[in-house]
Symmetry: C2
């Protein structure tokens, strides 16, 4: 895959037995895919893992070392299955510590109803900072390049909206050619387009449900002129009538 221009790379780590067991549908990665895309960020990996400390630590650390940003979903809260902070802290070799500002916010929020266990939500890996604390929503906990978000979708979205500008980059531009014919007949022409346009990412997707075309070819770049040139090149290479429309 050609890297479609400079963009911050992102991994999403979804933490929760409830997703893998089908008790709740995955909503947060599904929402982030188009959201990150629109921001111009390059999503490179999604991993869904169970509520296991070592899985959380190993997965988040590996992604943090490889990608510009990691966004975690889930495993933050007061119960036994909320292990995200412990997992991340352990993998990075730091203790979990109580964050005084989060403790203050929690005490203010719960008042007399505060249970000691609610204060677990003030526990973070040592060195974590709060981002967006002046936003009307709760601040987001950031540990190095890891953004630690809760799993409940409505809260996840509100929190991500408060940090979304950290992910903004030049937008992607995609052109599409809808083609007749088998992928096998297109493959050689696509190879030539891939070789001639290294700044363009080329995808080929057969469809068996459509009527007027059989394959969608996508040509994508951060440079709109480059995507346009690749589309023109593809159309010129293919026999007349193969491309039924472009967009």
């Amino acid at each position: 895959m050609a890297e479609p221009g400079a963009a911050p790379t992102v991994a999403i780590v979804v933490i929760g037995d409830e997703i893998l067991s089908g008790k709740f549908a995955e909503e947060n990665a599904a929402w982030l895919i188009p959201t990150l895309r629109e921001l111009g960020a390059a999503l490179r990996r999604i991993v869904v893992i169970p509520d296991v400390v070592s899985d959380i630590g190993d997965t988040v650390k590996a992604c943090a070392e490889r990608f510009d940003h990691v966004i975690t979903s889930g495993g933050v809260g007061p119960t036994h299955d909320d292990l995200t902070m412990e997992g991340i802290a352990g993998a990075f070799g730091v203790p979990v510590v109580r964050h005084p500002e989060l403790e203050r916010l929690l005490r203010g929020c719960y008042g007399d109803r505060l249970e000691e266990r609610n204060l677990r939500m003030a526990d973070v890996p040592e060195g974590a900072t709060l981002v967006g604390a002046d936003h009307p929503s709760w601040p987001v906990t950031r540990f190095h390049n890891v953004w630690i978000l809760p799993g409940v979708p409505v809260v996840f979205r509100r929190k991500f909206d408060s940090i979304r500008e950290h992910f903004r980059a030049r937008p992607f531009h995609v052109r599409r050619a809808y083609c007749l014919g088998e992928e096998g007949a297109l493959a050689g022409h696509l190879d030539a387009v891939v070789a001639g346009h290294p700044e363009v990412s080329v995808g080929s997707y057969p469809r068996f449900d459509a009527r007027e075309y059989r394959v969608i070819v996508t040509l994508e770049s951060k440079d709109p002129a480059a995507a346009e040139r690749a589309l023109a090149d593809l159309c010129a290479r293919l026999p007349a009538g193969v491309v039924v429309r472009t967009e």
Copy 2:
């Protein structure tokens, strides 16, 4: 997380730039989650990765070493972005070879329309076998414990249906308690249930959108009596009125 009884563990590896970039919604893992659950298999990981040979190889190999089964989706076909076979073969240190039975099927299917590139769909990691060849659908390529499926959802589902009995195990049993009150107030009681019922997996899920309850507690086991005992224990521990209903 308590392991809820003996079940084959499964990882799903979804291969495709088109998912990460939001060009197509992810449908295959989303369909497999409830399907595997109903079969009694234990899904332990979902990874979505781009069309990059090293990512494919590293991810599939790591999952194959750790879990009983790996199911891959996507990256099989005749074009430049179809790299699953090459990725898996490279990671396992074997060449990609043309499978004579797949070549025969492809030649029969395409007839005069066959392009040389279509035969790439007969190329598999050396040592791969075909499963379900007597089924009316195309056979599934299996390499050790890796089941290699195509990404187009209608074909993915048809192929998985032909191999689904390989994943069948004792069913899971889930009981649920719908509770009033904050998770923080429940947390200590849940700890006691977790400690007292090691054969039961206990989950706690706050809901902010429901009216008559605040938290769903799930109690899950391959042994229905064990899930039932854990539910009874939880209800006995919680103050009267906290559990508004069970199922």
